[in-house]
């Protein structure tokens, strides 16, 4: 699979070619071309901002539908902790877990159980690897992708541990093979996810060669299907929960850090804030920090685009739910520890370089600077690029031309029409039109009409 695979898809019929998504994209990965918003896969980090902001719902997340369960003989649900935060007055996670069995899953393995193992492994990592501190959480796949393309200096700080969903998937798979006696391919490990970035992770993981998650369902889909079953879960419910406060807390920003028993941490959420923290980390503005937790979505995973509830309300619900839980229920035992560490390294992908080498990049950066002085600096987005500078970069990369700027075009049209006027006004009433004058006039008219056509380009 392409290493720049991403799970945001454009529904062209719904796209109006407006500028909402190009303005919001934190890596400037989107351009409107021929009236439709196109994503540059190399720049996209799967943050989901374009999905969130599109008023026409043209940007859509890619994930699986519930009927994928039919492809397997035995299925295991991996509910993200953020799933629990979607329901009103839920006081026992067993209701959700048992309802998942009624829905058709053969087994349930909480992602929060995997999270508790990751917390334990992280506590150990922080004491054993002081040279790489502060460690940056790698649970949010968008953050890892962002660092991979923009912050090469921080790659050594990445916590080299699998995210909770992967740890849970591997343990769930072992248990499923043991219980069912079935071969791997007949077992479906199904993650119930708050965000499409996790779908990307399962198809093209970073830090491990292959993910054991087979399918990814959206919390917003499962939520509706679960409600009727949750009502019928009785007192005879099975005990399926494997996690306590630490695991459940991972669903919100600051939750992961709170399970590390250190005060020397920073937790930031929301992609713009994450970028600011990474910039400052790169300049070594924080000292003495041990751990940096970063979540691309506001509020953490509860703010994912595949959730239903307002993230801050969800956070409050999670807080209430965990109140009477034990601190943690899952601990690394025996061989379990081996599923936690990464087995592949993250490599820097220099996708934002202006040229193929430093000389070419220098030449192009000079051109960008000169172009920026001539462009209007309004960042209006009419050209399809988010800013004048982004258009200038597209121009020097050879993807666009100055005439994509409507202000540029307007000036050029003014100049042409002035020249036509000067030519024609010079003609006396009785002058014989010589061939040359008529030829020049025709040429001007053609250029005006060509440039007018450019103005129409991109209109739906």
């Amino acid at each position: 699979m392409d290493k720049f695979y991403h799970s945001v898809h454009l529904e062209p019929d719904l796209c109006k070619g407006c500028i909402n998504c190009i303005k919001r994209c934190p890596t400037q990965a989107i351009r409107v071309r021929d009236g439709k918003a196109r994503i540059n896969a190399r720049f996209c980090i799967d943050c989901g901002e374009c999905i969130r902001v599109c008023p026409h719902h043209a940007k859509q997340a890619v994930y699986d539908k519930i009927d994928v369960l039919k492809q397997y003989e035995y299925t295991v649900a991996l509910p993200a902790p953020s799933l629990y935060s979607q329901f009103n007055s839920l006081d026992d996670v067993e209701i959700v877990l048992n309802a998942l069995l009624y829905l058709g899953f053969d087994d349930v393995y909480e992602v929060s159980a995997g999270a508790e193992l990751v917390s334990e492994a992280t506590r150990r990592y922080l004491t054993e690897h002081e040279e790489n501190l502060p460690a940056i959480s790698t649970a949010c796949p968008t953050v890892v992708r962002l660092i991979r393309v923009k912050f090469p200096n921080l790659i050594p700080n990445l916590l080299p541990l699998n995210p909770p969903v992967e740890v849970a998937a591997r343990l769930a798979l072992m248990r499923a093979m043991e219980k069912s006696g079935l071969p791997r391919e007949k077992i479906g490990i199904v993650f119930i996810s708050p965000c499409p970035a996790k779908y990307t992770y399962t198809k093209m993981p970073l830090g491990t060669a292959k993910s054991e998650v087979d399918c990814v369902l959206a919390i917003k889909d499962v939520y509706q299907l679960l409600l009727p079953y949750m009502k019928v879960v009785g007192q005879d419910r099975e005990e399926l929960a494997l996690s306590g406060k630490i695991g459940i807390s991972w669903g919100r920003s600051g939750g992961e850090a709170s399970g590390l028993f250190t005060d020397n941490y920073l937790a930031a959420d929301g992609i713009e804030n994450v970028i600011r923290v990474l910039e400052d980390m790169e300049d070594q503005k924080f000292t003495q920090l041990k751990f940096v937790e970063l979540n691309a979505c506001n509020g953490g995973c509860v703010g994912g685009v595949l959730t239903v509830e307002n993230p801050y309300v969800a956070e409050a619900k999670l807080q209430r739910l965990r109140k009477y839980m034990p601190v943690s229920k899952s601990h690394i035992e025996g061989a379990q520890g081996s599923v936690v560490p990464w087995d592949a390294q993250v490599e820097f992908e220099p996708v934002f370089h202006l040229g193929n080498n430093m000389m070419q990049s220098l030449t192009r950066l000079n051109q960008v600077e000169r172009l920026c002085k001539r462009l209007p600096g309004l960042d209006c987005g009419s050209c399809g690029a988010p800013t004048c500078k982004a258009l200038a970069e597209d121009i020097v990369r050879g993807d666009r031309s100055e005439k994509d700027c409507i202000y540029f075009l307007r000036d050029s049209l003014h100049k042409l029409s002035d020249e036509v006027a000067a030519l024609v006004l010079g003609w006396g009433a009785d002058d014989k039109r010589d061939r040359e004058s008529v030829r020049i006039l025709k040429e001007y008219m053609q250029r005006i009409s060509d440039e007018m056509a450019l103005l129409d380009r991109g209109k739906p």
Partner: protein, 140 residues
């Protein structure tokens, strides 16, 4: 063919909230140029320290950055009070920053030492009552 590029920044006096803008802009440009990550980090740190110093001690000034495939050269020029004892100022932990600056978490006396540590060459020209010019080079 352009074999180098030059940027000039005005560092405003007394506007602490804008301190660091110039170094952050240079950092993003170096990244676009494909400068080796380690050099980007050195330039970003050294220039940030210098920029903050200009705001704290010297009422701002100008920074000129020249980038070529061989090196990044930064010239930080101010018309501040000048440095009375350069050797003393270069000592780790020595600081003349006022209390209100220290309260913001600056003034630890690591500015000049860090600038030296993260650059391949550093040269200070200073005259009391006239100003200070610091030239720093990071080789690529």
């Amino acid at each position: 063919m352009d074999d180098k590029i030059v940027f000039t920044y005005d560092v405003p006096a007394d506007d602490f909230s804008r301190a660091g803008e110039a170094s952050s802009d240079v950092k993003s440009k170096l990244k676009q140029l494909g400068t080796p990550p380690d050099a980007v980090r050195k330039v970003a740190i050294a220039m940030y320290e210098g920029e903050i110093n200009m705001v704290i001690h010297a009422n701002g000034g100008t920074i000129t950055v020249e980038i070529s495939p061989r090196q990044v050269r930064m010239v930080l020029r101010d018309r501040g009070p000048g440095i009375p004892d350069v050797d003393l100022a270069m000592q780790e932990g020595y600081s003349t920053a006022p209390d209100e600056i220290r309260n913001l978490g600056f003034g630890a006396g690591m500015g000049l030492p860090n600038m030296k540590k993260y650059t391949d060459e550093m040269h200070i020209e200073t005259e009391l009552g006239v100003g200070t010019t610091i030239t720093m080079t990071v080789n690529l």
